[in-house]
């Protein structure tokens, strides 16, 4: 630090102060860099650990649906994520279709319909849904909800069975993809609602008053001023919710009675998601089995990463648009 004798005394107190700043600023920066390192580590370690099974795999990882990654003597290692990826997307899609309209309705209710004094409290109730651990959702879904849904499923199979999605025969246990999707929908409801509430409260009062002054009813005001303004936020929220539904493990693992098939029949048992498959298989897996599960996890990581980045992009574009 010191270059000449003469300046030494003048620099000393300043240098001391600089030291504190330097240490603090650098540890703050270090923490930030550590986060980047962790994220890179997640991707890197998953890739490294999945290699041993992927190289041993005799099946096609992306198009095959079978799962026997641990070869006994004279057997081939064969596994693929096709059915798992299909199940993951199917479950998330069911959740999204069910949750998004309801979430928009709830957000409208809280922002524009509920009595003002109750609005905050009612919003808090919806947030409580997000606080309940997924394993408790799973327990409730498995023991209580699936039985309650059975009559509805039989009704749907009878009258809507001509739609391939709802073809019978109905699973006798109710532990189907639709049940899992319904529970996932409840779980992502608060995420989408929070996002939609955010944008709906940000609709400028001048726009709402403009609509009302033209003689709009409350619904017409919402349709002309609120919904067009809030659309990007709702889409972003729905995608964040979808990211959550894609990666949700326990509720699916506990409710769904799994099988590795690609089937659109949501009233029959079958299908499986990546996350639930990992949770169920891991305790018994060894060697290439673990490695294969890590490879499946890598696929899940990639899908959720893409969905989340797209969601953030949509949301941030809305911000620019508003400001």
């Amino acid at each position: 630090m010191t270059t000449t004798d003469s300046s030494e005394t003048a620099v000393a107190p300043r240098g001391k102060r600089r030291l504190g700043d330097l240490v603090f600023a650098n540890s703050a920066r270090g923490a930030g860099l550590l986060i980047l390192a962790i994220l890179a580590g997640v991707a890197l370690f998953l890739i490294v650990q999945s290699l041993s099974s992927l190289t041993a795999n005799e099946g096609n990882f992306f198009t095959s649906s079978e799962w026997s990654p641990e070869a006994g003597p004279g057997e081939e290692v064969r596994f693929g994520v096709a059915a798992l990826a299909f199940g993951t997307v199917l479950g998330a899609a069911i959740a999204l279709v069910l949750a998004t309209p309801v979430a928009v309705g709830i957000a409208l209710f809280i922002v524009y319909y509920a009595p003002r004094r109750l609005a905050a409290l009612l919003g808090y109730l919806v947030d409580l849904l997000a606080a309940i651990p997924s394993v408790v959702y799973g327990l409730w879904g498995l023991v209580y909800l699936v039985d309650q849904l059975q009559p509805l499923y039989r009704f749907m199979a009878e009258y809507l069975g001509w739609i391939p999605l709802f073809a019978g025969p109905v699973s006798s246990t109710g532990r189907t993809m639709l049940s899992a999707g319904i529970v996932l929908a409840v779980m992502i409801l608060p995420i989408i609602t929070a996002m939609a509430r955010d944008v709906f409260t940000q609709v400028p009062q001048t726009h709402r008053e403009a609509a009302l002054a033209l003689g709009a009813t409350r619904w017409e005001m919402i349709r002309t001023a609120v919904l067009p303004f809030g659309r990007p936020g709702v889409i972003g929220g729905a995608m964040l919710g979808m990211g959550r539904a894609l990666g949700e493990t326990m509720a699916v693992a506990m409710i769904l009675s799994p099988s590795l098939v690609i089937s659109p029949n949501v009233l029959q048992s079958g299908n499986q998601t990546i996350a639930a498959h990992i949770a169920l298989q891991y305790p018994e897996a060894t060697g290439t089995g673990v490695s294969a599960l890590i490879a499946a996890g890598l696929v899940l990581f990639g899908i959720t990463l893409a969905v989340n980045m797209a969601a953030r992009f949509v949301v941030s574009r809305r911000k620019e648009f508003t400001e």
């Binding site: 603090f24 920066r29 860099l33 997640v42 996350a275 890590i294 969905v307």
Partner: protein, 369 residues
């Protein structure tokens, strides 16, 4: 219907007052009409189901709601006009949406309380599952509570410094590309599925300690991956709320930047920071999947040492009990009772954290008496 012809009618000046007055004075349903109609619908629906001998709250509520929506829309369309009818329909639908959200919440909480209370007592909270064989009417969650405390405590110790310092960097120091990158990737990290966080630690542990190693520390690290971005997000928001005047006042007194942050900024934001950390903790305390992978499922005894062997936790305890529900006879019944009682315990813990967070933000924040 009269309103639909309004624009053309006003176009010609001759037919003034009468048409206009019909536009202004529209027939309206009385204000008590929706409430009265709802009561009627509910009475008819429950009566019908009761006569059929199939009374059950859910279908009754569904039929009531549909009946109400149809009735309110048609009567409004007949008495008032189509626009009002549509408005009333949407109002009804929006109320229904909220009801739809509340139904699972109430159903879930009430089932957990009703079933959980069976086995939820001091004995259940104070003993472990050590030496309990499935058919024994015994055992409790003590070891799982200890494990949850150790694992989430460690996760907090890891996450808070990293998360808080990152937030300090982003708000106080950061600029340019690095700041953007960190903000962006923290968002990305928020979306990591919990099972992937678990797999990350599994992969790390295999590389460092070899395969098959599970312990509490691994669980804590997995939870940290999930907790850090939440802490960063909430801390960032809180630090931004600290007014710039406070920082400038400190600089003007010749206080160096780092001391300004430590002595002025952080203490000002302490209530919000604490609230955020508690809420982040509440979020990860119920995580199950990463702990199955990292802390194991085998432990039945009290283990408070995070680097030695499997460690049970409340959520994994619930999952394990659910798996044992398939056992025949008494064993399955006891397992289910344990699952509900542990679920009640876990929900109470989460609610307690939420309550604490609210109290902290109410009583610790400056300027709010």
């Amino acid at each position: 219907m009269t309103t639909a012809t309004q624009p053309t009618a006003t176009g010609s000046s001759g037919e003034g007052p009468d048409i206009q007055s019909s536009g202004l004075y529209s027939r309206q349903l009385p204000t008590y009409f929706p409430a009265a109609l709802l009561v009627v619908c509910a009475a008819v629906a429950s009566g019908a189901f009761f006569l059929l001998g199939a009374f059950h709250p859910v279908p009754v509520a569904a039929v009531t709601a549909i009946g109400y929506l149809v009735a309110v829309t048609t009567s409004s369309a007949v008495v008032e006009n189509n626009r009002r009818a549509k408005d009333r329909l949407v109002t009804g639908v929006v109320y229904c949406c909220f009801a739809i959200a509340v139904v699972p919440l109430i159903s879930l909480l009430s089932t957990v309380v009703v079933f959980g209370i069976e086995r939820f007592d001091l004995y259940f909270l104070s003993v472990s599952m050590n030496g309990v064989i499935p058919s024994m009417d015994a055992g409790g969650v003590y070891h799982a509570i200890v494990g949850t405390l150790v694992i989430t405590g460690l996760a907090t110790v890891i996450s808070v410094p990293i998360g808080l310092m990152t937030a300090v960097y982003v708000v106080e120091y950061g600029r340019g590309r690095l700041k953007q990158a960190i903000t962006f990737f923290v968002d990305v990290m928020t979306g990591i599925p919990s099972i992937v966080a678990g797999l990350f630690v599994v992969a790390l542990w295999i590389m460092v300690f070899g395969p098959g190693q599970t312990n509490g520390l691994a669980g804590a690290i997995a939870l940290s991956v999930l907790m850090i971005p939440v802490v960063v997000r909430s801390s960032e928001e809180m630090l931004r709320l600290v007014p710039n005047e406070l920082r400038e006042a400190a600089y003007a007194l010749g206080v160096p930047k780092w001391l300004t942050i430590v002595k002025v900024v952080l203490p000002t934001a302490v209530a919000g920071l604490t609230t955020g950390i508690i809420l982040a903790l509440a979020r990860v305390i119920g995580e199950t999947a990463p702990l199955i992978l990292t802390a194991g499922m085998a432990s039945t005894r009290i283990n408070a040492n995070p680097v030695e062997g499997d460690m049970m936790s409340l959520p994994v305890y619930i999952y394990k009990a659910v798996r044992d529900m398939g056992l025949s006879g008494e064993a399955g019944v006891y397992a289910e009772e344990r699952a509900w009682a542990a679920a009640l315990t876990l929900i109470l813990v989460v609610m307690l954290l939420f309550l604490t967070a609210r109290l902290v933000s109410r009583f610790l924040s400056p300027g709010k008496g």
